[in-house]
């Protein structure tokens, strides 16, 4: 069994039903040719990286299928090429790693890439004993009534002046 994947972009100007029926016609072509459809991924309306046929968005469909031979793919591609509702298409043969990757992606083992955000190393580990600056030290001492240090500070300050 060989695994293949066909991905095509449908014109977004069509109505929702028309888009779905377009995608369905190609699935029917595949099943009529004896291929077994593994998965149909409706990737939905996506912005294009550059405009195609003066459209800036497109509806992406990805159909994964398995077949004994790839002889009918030329027929499928000809049908896709002649269709005016299809903006772009690509058929790819999948190797065993790609099949495994797609399976894992469907079962949710492969998630979205998390952007790198390293934790800042500047903060100390012990947050309780952390005092940001030496200026706040007298305030902390004043908060504690038992310490007689504030009085000393007051008496000292005129001497310094």
């Amino acid at each position: 069994m060989r695994h293949f994947e066909v991905i095509f972009i449908v014109d977004p100007v069509l109505s929702g039903d028309e888009i779905k029926s377009t995608a369905k016609t190609y699935q029917e072509i595949l099943t009529n040719e004896g291929a077994s459809i593994v998965n149909v991924d409706e990737m939905g309306l996506k912005p294009l990286a550059y405009s195609i046929n003066k459209r800036s968005t497109g509806v992406y469909y990805c159909v994964e299928f398995a077949a004994e031979t790839g002889a009918f793919i030329a027929k499928l591609e000809l049908a896709l090429k002649r269709d005016e509702r299809i903006m772009r298409f690509l058929t790819v043969r999948l190797d065993k790693f790609a099949v495994k990757y797609n399976e894992d992606k469907r079962s949710g083992k492969i998630g979205k890439r998390i952007p790198k955000d390293p934790p800042s190393k500047k903060l100390p580990l012990d947050y309780n004993s952390y005092q940001p600056f030496s200026n706040s030290a007298p305030k902390a001492a004043a908060a504690e009534p038992a310490v007689s240090a504030p009085k000393d500070v007051v008496s000292e300050s005129p001497v310094n002046d």
């Binding site: 972009i9 990286a49 550059y50 195609i52 772009r88 190797d95 790609a98 979205k112 890439r113």
Partner: protein
């Protein structure tokens, strides 16, 4: 004030050192390059949307070929642009 014993280097010794490059596919055991994932492929192209060379990405030859074909497939499907300005 640091004492004389604590001062070992006049300048930071790590400044001139080169970081060892590695192939992220062989290192992390990735065996497939997905052409439908632009967030992943964007690591291998520059701001103009051009493919970065192996000497910068550190990829092994096998995976550099696969990255290149994946980027080209993504460009055909308008997932990645052929040319752009300030892409990243």
């Amino acid at each position: 004030m640091a004492t004389q014993d604590e001062i070992k280097f006049l300048s930071n010794p790590n400044i001139g050192q080169k970081q060892q490059k590695y192939c992220r596919f062989t290192k992390f055991g990735l065996k497939h390059v997905d052409y439908k994932d632009p967030d992943f492929l964007i690591q291998f192209i520059n701001q103009q949307g051009k493919l970065l060379p192996r000497r910068l990405t550190g990829n092994s030859l096998k995976f550099q070929r696969r990255v290149a074909s994946a980027v080209k497939r993504a460009r055909h499907l308008a997932i990645l642009p052929f040319v752009s300005d300030l892409m990243k």
